[in-house]
């Protein structure tokens, strides 16, 4: 019995209350524990990823109850990869939060941070749909706390909308779960995959409703048009390290779509035919377009980055919506890229903020350290806009390549390429205003923030680290894509996953008992 697989969930879940209990008034101790926890998470995630890399699917039956009666968590290539991505991202975000002292501007940052990690890890690992809902809620409520960390009017107002929107999303999730249970009598994803095949072609409405509602729920998380409205303000107003951590949150939605719609409601499943395959692609393309146009239209740097996130999620979703092994490979590659790039950009926003009176895209006096910041911005913007040589470009090539043979290739290509151009124009516009135009402005009546001090070295280390990861993602794109090809092969051959989950006996049950 190995318990490592549950560790990514349990470790932060124990660390957080421990921090609340024991180190509530000692920021130093909190930091040490928080960082140590995340480092341990990386180590654990690396182990799990290594274990899963040969195709091993590890099952963990919570409470010793067999699926589908109890909750199981499952480590396969995809889930361990996402766990790894989360842990790595968390480390740099945490370093930034410490370096920039964001973690001292409100209470309980580190506890909330750990809880947030717990929620994300749980969402990636669970094999049960209702448990997925619970972890969604954990990660959401922690995200509410982090989003409004340090307070401030604009942030709280944006926070209200963010919470309200997600409450609607959670409500919808429950509707979907109700429909699924009513229709199939189960909540376990693998069991669901078996049961949907039993559904009669003359009675498909129920499962179709369930499949669509679930898709909408995940689409909200993934900020797919027209369900993306929650994102711009909340990401723009969130504290920088929080926004950076949020870069993984949209990916939870993408992950869930990949998981459920390659295993349960597969593209070739009769009873749900024509559902996600019809509407997801147009919506994804629209997200891509709106996101990139938003980069051009944004009047604030932070909102610009928020729109970039929408656009990059659109790109991920375009790839996902094709539901082929190559397109999922592309989607996964782009997911990693987009997470790192978005996080880096949000942190850079904060570096820029620390020298300016606000983030409006207008010329303001130049600040010390701007050269380094501008170089970081240039690199991150290149990555996000999908220009060579960074991973955004490679991801784009992978997506375009995967779309080549599809019926909608012309649309996909046109929108991907044109929106890239718009992003390039938008980023160059913003960059030249922020970093180039600065010199011409003499110090005007609007003094730069008096209290602002140049960012700490640790902050630059964090951003630099993320960009280094992006470079690594580019340089080692070959191994990365071949791993992701393996991931997507495993996804498109779900039988081992399903049988591992369902055919392992648990307390008081043998595998055949359920049927």
């Amino acid at each position: 019995m190995t318990h490592w697989i549950v560790a990514p969930i349990i470790l932060p879940a124990l660390l957080a209350p421990f921090i609340v209990l024991a180190a509530r008034y000692h920021i130093g101790i909190q930091r040490v524990f928080s960082v140590a926890g995340v480092v341990a998470l990386i180590a654990i995630a690396a182990g799990l990823m290594w274990q899963a890399s040969d195709g091993t699917i590890t099952l963990y039956q919570l409470g010793d109850w067999a699926a589908p009666f109890g909750i199981v968590i499952v480590a396969d290539r995809l889930s361990t990869m996402m766990v790894m991505l989360t842990a790595v991202l968390a480390l740099f975000v945490l370093l930034y939060a410490i370096g920039s002292e964001w973690d001292t501007r409100g209470r309980h940052f580190h506890a909330l941070f750990q809880f947030q990690l717990m929620g994300i890890m749980g969402a990636f690992l669970t094999g049960d749909l209702f448990n997925l809902f619970v972890f969604f809620e954990v990660l959401l409520i922690a995200s509410y706390g982090l989003m409004i960390h340090a307070g401030g009017n604009a942030r709280l107002r944006a926070g209200v909308q963010y919470v309200l929107f997600n409450l609607l999303g959670s409500t919808l999730f429950l509707f979907a779960l109700g429909a699924i249970y009513a229709e199939t009598g189960t909540l376990n994803m693998a069991d669901l995959a078996r049961r949907v095949t039993l559904i009669d072609a003359g009675e498909t409405v129920g499962i179709r409703l369930a499949a669509v509602l679930l898709l909408l729920v995940f689409a909200i998380k993934a900020a797919v048009l027209p369900l993306h409205f929650w994102l711009p303000s909340s990401y723009a107003e969130a504290p920088a390290p929080v926004a950076a951590l949020f870069a993984i949150m949209t990916k939870v939605g993408a992950y869930a779509i990949i998981r459920v719609y390659t295993m349960v409601f597969t593209p070739d499943l009769e009873v749900t035919s024509g559902l996600h395959t019809t509407w997801l692609l147009p919506a994804a393309l629209a997200s891509l377009a709106i996101g990139m146009i938003g980069i051009l239209a944004a009047r604030h740097f932070d909102r610009l980055v928020a729109f970039a996130v929408i656009g990059s999620m659109g790109m991920v979703m375009v790839a996902i919506s094709l539901f082929t092994p190559t397109s999922i490979t592309a989607a996964l590659y782009y997911t990693v890229h987009s997470t790192l790039a978005a996080a880096a950009l949000f942190l850079i926003v904060d570096l820029v903020r620390s020298g300016r009176s606000d983030l409006r895209l207008i010329a303001q006096p130049v600040v010390p350290g701007a050269v380094l910041t501008s170089a970081l911005f240039f690199a991150a913007a290149i990555a996000m806009a999908g220009l060579p040589p960074l991973s955004g470009f490679l991801g784009k090539l992978l997506v375009l390549d995967a779309a080549f043979d599809t019926a909608s290739a012309a649309w996909i290509w046109a929108i991907v390429l044109i929106s890239s151009l718009i992003a390039v124009v938008g980023f160059s516009r913003a960059g030249s205003i922020l970093f180039w135009k600065a010199k011409t402005v003499t110090v005007s009546e609007e003094e730069p923030n008096e209290t602002a001090s140049p960012p700490a070295t640790l902050s630059y280390v964090a951003v630099g680290g993320l960009l280094t990861l992006l470079v690594a993602h580019t340089v080692f794109a070959g191994p990365a894509t071949s791993y992701m090809t393996a991931v997507s092969d495993q996804l498109f051959n779900p039988e081992p996953y399903i049988s591992t989950v369902l055919d392992t006996p648990g307390k008081l049950s043998t595998p055949k008992e359920g049927y």
């Binding site: 209702f130 619970v134 809620e137 959401l140 409520i141 509410y144 706390g145 409004i148 307070g151 401030g152 009017n153 709280l156 107002r157 944006a158 926070g159 209200v160 909308q161 919470v163 309200l164 409450l167 609607l168 959670s170 409500t171 429950l174 509707f175 779960l177 109700g178 429909a179 249970y181 009513a182 909540l187 711009p232 303000s233 009047r299 604030h300 909102r303 409006r360 895209l361 207008i362 010329a363 516009r429 205003i433």
Partner: protein, 115 residues
């Protein structure tokens, strides 16, 4: 009976959606609470309706309501309680800061310059 429950879900949903679309945080929060009721009843109903069979095991009784949706709804109620408390508090914080409890947040559209 099924019709009553289904239509109750419908009424709660409709009322919830209408209030959710109001312009002040307070009615919006209440609207979402109504939606929560609706979805809790719906989730509960996914175990179908049983009268007189609480899922408390008794000797000689073999008619029980489906316990699983009940457990799920219980979890959902608790979670939405936490969520509601949080949204109330955040909305209150936002109101106290700006003396304005409008839920719409006009995004500052001050112009940038592109030259």
């Amino acid at each position: 009976m099924e019709l009553l429950v289904a239509s109750a879900i419908g009424i709660l949903t409709a009322g919830g959606i209408y209030l959710m679309l109001r312009l002040r945080t307070f009615p919006v929060i209440l609207g979402i609470s109504l939606l929560t009721y609706a979805v809790n009843v719906f989730l509960f109903a996914s175990g179908r309706l049983s009268i007189g069979g609480p899922p408390i095991l008794r000797d000689g009784v073999d008619f029980y309501a489906d316990p699983l949706p009940q457990a799920l709804v219980l979890t959902a109620i608790v979670i939405s309680f936490g969520m509601t408390a949080v949204v109330v508090m955040i909305a209150l914080g936002a109101y106290l800061g700006a003396d304005d409890d409008r839920v719409d947040d006009p995004v500052d559209a001050s112009a940038g310059d592109a030259t």
